[in-house]
Symmetry: C2
Subunit: 146 residues, 2 copies
Amino acid sequence: MENHQLGTEIADALGLLLRRSTRARLYGRLTDGLPVDEFGYPVLSALARAGACSAAELAGEVGLDRTVVTRRATHLETAGLLRREPDPADRRATLLLLTDEGTAVVAELRRRLATLIADSLHDWPPTEAQAFAAGLTRFVADGPFS
Amino acid sequence: MENHQLGTEIADALGLLLRRSTRARLYGRLTDGLPVDEFGYPVLSALARAGACSAAELAGEVGLDRTVVTRRATHLETAGLLRREPDPADRRATLLLLTDEGTAVVAELRRRLATLIADSLHDWPPTEAQAFAAGLTRFVADGPFS
DNA sequence: CTGATTTGCGTGCGCTGTGCACGCTATCCT
DNA sequence: AGGATAGCGTGCACAGCGCACGCAAATCAG
């Protein structure tokens, strides 16, 4: 079973990726100088992907507790990156949506990350890089991450 | 600049990998039924790679504070997975080393992870899987993770 | 139509992991 | 020898996290 050996190789690489410090360092670099920290980033990014929605929906998206998203949203609201708005269809619900500045910050964050990654792929043969990107996407999609 | 688009694609995949919940869930599955939790696992695994060494060295390896490793090591020591031993060469230093059970647990953990990954690669064309493993290793090595 | 139940949201509270500062012991340098 | 340095472990404060509670609005039962 040579796949098992591949599993070991991938496991080593994943070990580094999953470190807290790795995530903290990466997010720290990305958010440097921007009015958002490593904790607000995932919420902001998820909101950009999902569009206007409730904190509970965002919680499922980010993989955190509902109340945590609420607190982070409040923080981001104070920073002026998102705003709350009563749901016109359901007056007990509160919609979270990006402000213009929030949209700009998300765009900048995504640009920085994409650039960072593209730079590290700079010396790769184009076909190899493309294959890796596709492979990673596939691996994450149906990998051991339910 | 098409690399930039690749960067965006990879960024999306990384976003999921870097989630706290992803790591917690994966480590939870791996350590299920074993006398080690998601916090002890990195320390145990690093100790297996590095061999007998001090907590400070392990801290650099894992990317945590020295005192945190000390506490986790104490926890693992209570569980019987590692033991402390005064460094014969330097009597103020304390060596951390795996017990037999600790070695067995690490082996089981690595086996589980490798199996998990290998399973998710089951349907992949062999060459594609191999290319992905190599790509991931390379990407992690000289990627944006200093 | 009215009262009870459910749903969604925000906040108070306790828990836990983390890092810093401190004290102690052993080693190294002068 | 004696002061400076290095290595460990622990007390402490801080912050993120999830649970439980209370309130407002909507839905359901009768």
